[in-house]
Every structure is written in structure tokens, then in C-alpha cells.
């Protein structure tokens, strides 16, 4: 039986779709069978981020309306074994889908695949409720800024009410330089506020922009810091215990200060 994980955030633009695309691809690269489900009905994006937009024939809406079988609606990603995409319909809107539709799709997929990652739309309304309806677990993506964290807290409350557990946090677009000079909250600050388990920190990586331009998820480029972070998160999702590295870039003064306080 596979696991259904909803990737969500509350606020838009924090990297939900990028995270879903990279984690799905990374899990497939680790040998798992994966379906990426775009739950953003009416504003579909996962197919273009994955570079699969030209191959989408059917969407989850066609499955719901019994226009086609679920298996036929899945787009196979030819770059890696065991990776599929279920696209969202662009011509429908969020009210055309019911939470029980999504739950039925997830329950069906989990009989065949190891991981089902559902990319949730932003917001706390219908789209989010649809996306999380079939989920066992959640990944909440946030950036280390006040508005994203406040919205993440709201989403965490809703996920807890829905008894979705565990809820794991990804801190995205983390800038070691800005944290080092005190202009950005570090992971301890964010965790102190949100009080959930951290599954990974993804550093700001300009490679995300070029990889999205090309439709090739970052994890195909091993060297990039963002790709490495997503690979580590994927390994943690499979149950491997991999420590979260400290990405903060410290100035000379605070490095010395840390050294003295640690070695006292």
C-alpha cells in the first residue's frame, strides 16, 4: 500500500509545485514508483514544471466524469522509471471536484504505487480541501518570511484538525548569507514558531528558474545545492535517517563567538 502525501503551503509562490516536482522525481530516481497529482483544478502548473505539458491527453476531471480509466489518464515520464503524472483540468474550476473524488483517486493509486504526491493549490478553501481529502501525510512548504510562515501555521492547524499525520515542514528559498547576517530567520526560529517536524531545508538556488524554464526538474542535476537538498528530503521520505546540515553562513565574529561558547 502506497502513501498519499499532500504538498501544501497556504501562501502561493513559496515553491509547492517546484517541491512536488522535485520530490516526485527524486523518489523515482531512488527506485520508488510515484504518481504526481496536480490538484490545482483550473490553474494547472505541475505538467509544465515537469516538462510534460505536450503529452497530457486526459485529466483527473475526465476520470471523475468517467470519460476515461484512471490508468489511461496517467502520463508516463520517460526520463525515469516509475514516474507518472495526473494532470489537472484547465477548463474546469475547483468546485467541479469534490473531496470524495480526490479521495477515490488516491485510494485507487495507492494500491499500485509507492508514493502519491498531491500538489495542492494555494489557499485554505475548496482546492486545499480537495487536495488533502485523500492524504495520509502532509508536507508543508514555507519560505522564511513572515507572511508565508503565518499562512503555514494556519494550514498546519487545518491539517491537524483533519487528523493528517505526520506533518513535515520544508523550509524553501533559505539564504545562508541572509541568515548569517541576521536578515533572515534561521531554521530554529521557524521551528520555534511552527512547532512541527522539519524534513528539510532547501537553499535559494537560481538553478530552479532555469530548470523550470526547461521543464527539467532540478534533481537531474546532481551538483546543485537545491537538487541535493531535495534528494536528501526524498531519502528521508523513504525512511532513511539523514541529518539536516546546517546551511547558515556565519561571519568570522559569530564563528569565533560560537567556537568560544561551545568550547567553554
Amino acid at each position: 500500500m502506497g502513501k498519499v502525501i499532500v504538498v501544501t503551503s497556504g501562501k502561493g509562490g513559496v515553491g509547492k509545485t517546484t517541491s512536488a516536482a522535485n520530490l516526485g522525481t527524486a523518489l523515482a530516481l531512488l527506485g520508488k514508483s510515484v504518481v504526481l497529482v496536480d490538484a490545482d483544478v483550473g490553474l494547472r502548473n505541475l505538467d509544465i514544471v515537469m516538462g510534460l505539458e505536450s503529452r497530457v491527453v486526459y485529466t483527473s476531471m475526465d476520470v471523475i466524469e468517467k470519460e476515461c480509466e484512471l490508468n489511461k489518464a496517467l502520463v508516463r515520464d520517460r526520463r525515469v522509471n516509475g514516474l507518472m503524472l495526473l494532470a489537472a483540468s484547465q477548463k474546469n474550476n475547483k468546485d467541479d471536484m469534490q473531496p470524495e473524488h480526490m479521495k477515490a483517486i488516491c485510494d485507487n493509486l495507492r494500491t499500485t504505487y509507492d508514493f502519491i504526491l498531491v500538489d495542492s493549490p494555494a489557499g485554505i478553501e475548496r482546492g486545499f480541501r480537495n487536495a488533502s481529502a485523500g492524504a495520509d501525510e502532509a508536507i508543508v512548504v514555507t519560505t522564511p518570511d513572515v507572511s508565508a510562515i503565518r499562512d503555514a501555521d494556519r494550514i498546519i492547524g487545518l491539517l491537524q484538525n483533519a487528523e493528517i499525520e505526520p506533518i513535515n515542514l520544508v523550509i524553501n528559498r533559505f539564504s545562508p548569507q541572509l541568515v548569517g547576517n541576521g536578515s533572515m530567520m534561521d531554521q530554529a526560529d521557524v521551528l520555534d514558531i511552527l512547532n512541527i517536524d522539519l524534513i528539510g531545508v532547501v537553499p535559494e538556488d537560481s538553478g530552479v528558474i532555469t530548470s523550470t524554464n526547461r521543464g527539467i526538474p532540478l534533481v537531474y542535476e546532481d551538483g546543485s545545492p537545491g537538487a541535493q537538498a531535495y534528494m536528501r528530503i526524498a531519502r528521508r521520505l523513504t525512511g532513511q535517517r539523514i541529518p539536516i546540515p546546517d546551511l547558515e553562513q556565519k561571519g568570522l565574529f559569530s564563528s569565533l563567538l560560537n567556537w568560544f561558547t561551545k568550547n567553554r
Partner: protein
């Protein structure tokens, strides 16, 4: 420790610390479903009651919600200048 040394040197507070403090306050309010209007109303009503016994200036009053573990604490500072019992004057 780290912080106190920096404060000793009189440095400007880091914006990340300001962000954290602001977030903690706003999220505490979000979680208990308390909004600004509620806090303002509570503030007025408490001030009305306390004004019967104390003299204080409205601008010096501070009210905040704090979270400690799983419980919330309402902290209200009403710095007063004089004590007077209006009920005794009747």
C-alpha cells in the same frame, strides 16, 4: 548569550529577531482566534473597570497574548499613577 553580548555592544536589533517576535504574537492571536477588534474591545472594557479604582493614561496601557507551551497568557500592563476607590465616594 549570543544575543545579550550583541545587545551590550548596542547594535541595531536584527530584522530576523523582529520578524520572529512579530510572528509569535500574531500567530498566538491567530491560534486562539482572537482578532484586533476583540483585543480593542477587551482593552476598553478592562480600562472601564480599572478606571473606577486607578488613575492611568490610556496611552500607557499595553495588552498582549503570550504562548507558553500549550496555554495562552493574557498580559495586561496598566501603569497607574494614583489609587482611588470611586465606589467609596457614593
Amino acid at each position: 548569550m549570543n544575543l545579550s553580548i550583541k545587545q551590550l555592544f548596542g547594535r541595531k536589533p536584527k530584522s530576523s529577531n523582529i520578524a520572529k517576535q512579530r510572528l509569535k504574537l500574531v500567530i498566538t492571536q491567530d491560534r486562539v482566534d482572537v482578532d484586533d477588534r476583540f483585543m480593542t474591545r477587551l482593552h476598553h472594557e478592562l480600562a472601564e473597570v480599572l478606571a473606577k479604582y486607578f488613575e492611568f493614561s490610556a496611552s500607557s496601557v499595553k495588552m498582549n497574548l503570550k504562548q507558553e507551551g500549550n496555554s495562552y497568557i493574557l498580559v495586561a500592563d496598566f501603569p497607574y499613577t494614583k489609587f482611588h476607590d470611586m465606589s467609596m465616594r457614593k
